[in-house]
Symmetry: C2
Subunit: 344 residues, 2 copies
């Protein structure tokens, strides 16, 4: 770990005066109301071009910027869309989706802030978010209850949208059912003639929200067939993968759905090092369609996951903000398609 030495001197805090709109008004020789109209681009009031210019110049000279909090107090709400920052590392797919969403919302004149809510859960988290008086809240994952939705709405949020496996009363829901990922993987393996199917369940905490429905999806797809499902807990280390591979022949499996491509790559390498032939002895399939899966030999089969576009989600948020009385919308938004390569 790189150390940061503590070199702080104990000087008294510097006195700085934060410029206010009153200072701008004084310098520009106009009223505070005029400053507010000009800097907030209010179209309802006509103000001459020279006056506008004078206000902008005075604001520039003083280094004044409007106070979003004051503006939101006056307006009763903000243009802030709040998203809890994900507590677990997000993959490249999700990262791209977030970027796209932020871009689309900023085009609609919303400011997106991600709230670091580590250590807060459920309705406590909702209260912390409500303190910022966002106009809309996008909640990934699970954990927010109907109470939390009510707290957010009472504090002025016009739209609450959840992105996760299940919806919550009072909120719009973009349903992302990861069971469909497991179902598609299992159908593919079954169609390829495999019957003794292992399912990797990561031991790393925080992944249950994905791993549990993926495993459930495998079970659903194989219900009523002659296939048997075996749960395989696995930590994301070479050592853990080697231990699992060492007892592989005893497990009698002819296929494995390895949770995602990273676990699949890890396990496939360990199996190959044990002399297990892929796909002849064991078929392997991952999920996420990472580029790196194509670089292994055999090339890794995978489940490609589709998310809605950030633009569409931004439009849903904007609709909901404009029409807070509308009935909550619910949409299934997770698509899953098998990409068959050489490992299965």
């Amino acid at each position: 770990m790189v150390q940061i030495p503590n070199t702080s001197a104990s000087a008294p805090p510097a006195q700085r005066s934060v410029p206010t709109s009153a200072d701008v008004a004084r310098l520009a020789g106009v009223s505070r109301a005029t400053v507010s109209y000009v800097l907030n681009n209010t179209s309802a009031v006509r103000i001459s071009e020279p006056t506008r210019r004078r206000v902008h110049e005075a604001a520039e000279e003083l280094g004044y910027v409007p106070h979003a909090a004051a503006r939101s107090l006056r307006a009763g709400h903000s243009r802030m869309v709040l998203m809890p920052a994900p507590a677990i590392p997000v993959g490249p797919l999700h990262g791209q989706f977030l970027n796209e969403l932020q871009w689309a919302l900023s085009r609609l004149d919303y400011t997106v802030v991600q709230h670091g809510a580590l250590g807060l859960h459920g309705d406590d988290a909702a209260r912390a978010w409500a303190e910022l008086r966002p106009v809309a809240v996008l909640v990934p994952g699970q954990g927010l209850g109907p109470q939390g939705v009510a707290v957010l709405k009472r504090s002025g949020a016009r739209a609450v949208v959840t992105l996760g496996p299940t919806g919550v009363e009072g909120a719009h829901a973009l349903l992302m059912d990861h069971a469909t990922v497991g179902r598609e993987a299992a159908r593919h393996l079954h169609a390829r003639g495999r019957r003794r199917i292992g399912v990797v369940v990561p031991e790393e905490s925080g992944l249950e929200a994905y791993s549990t429905p993926r495993l459930d999806g495998v079970r659903q797809a194989l219900r009523g067939t002659d296939a048997v499902v075996t749960e395989l807990p696995l930590g994301y280390t070479e050592e853990a993968a080697a231990r699992l591979a060492a007892r592989w022949r005893g497990l009698g499996l002819d296929a494995v759905f390895a949770y995602n491509d990273e676990y699949a790559m890890l396990l496939m390498r360990a199996l190959q090092d044990e002399g297990v032939r892929i796909p002849e002895d064991t078929a392997v399939i991952g999920a996420d369609d990472l580029m790196l899966g194509r670089l292994l030999r055999p090339r890794l089969s995978t489940v490609h996951i589709e998310l809605p576009s950030g633009r569409e989600l931004a439009e849903l948020v904007d609709r909901a903000v404009r029409d807070p009385g509308a009935a909550p919308e619910r949409h299934e938004v997770l698509g899953a398609t098998v990409v068959h390569r050489d490992s299965s």
Copy 2:
């Protein structure tokens, strides 16, 4: 792309009344000041336990949460630490650092918000951040100028900390000089007897902030030696890697520093498919020390990058907030060590 249908009805917006502290005061039978003292945990004023309980119960019943904006207006500043959200996808290393940092700051009673500043640059971005009146701002990457720092400070930010290759006047700087990554890679390859060294420069936009100093570091380390450096632009696709590999023998290189592990894995596979032996014909080294690099054969050599701990950075922020008059601190915080495996 999964489609979200537009099912919005055109119902009029529902009228909802947002409960205020005045409502809480009325229900609890106390003054608004008392409500404020109780809910903000002000220790300066003594309030009896039964009164506290009455206020909390009334707040609960009404679903009232304090307004962070109002509180920050009264206090003149907030406990909000603002971080611009990175515009490019962050790797797992950086993601873990962010999580750790958010956790450490929340332990010190700060609220961390990430501001999506896509499309805003430099001092314009600083103005947008200043509108939220954060008490501290952490700015990754480059782009913020001394003007922007001044805007933030005038709007009440007590600490501005940059994380990037260079510092900015008036701000604390955690210097992350990626040249050191290139230097270490080049020294390693030179010590292994390699003299005709290629350096991959990703064609994807947004990565220049890392790729330029890494290339510069290679040149610095090899200056005054008999080694020759060749710049290799490369897009992150199998096709681009195959094209580069097809003309590899004509380039006459005996080593390549491939920007990071992902580009290294991509290029190494393409070179192997062309019959180039790794490391006999060409040594390959990446950077980031990804787990997946250990799964390839030969195992990928890499540069392991060390960041400061989130806890230490949180403590620097807290020191700076408590002592805004102190001279800006500057710390070199990027460590780089070669992990020698089989590809070099």
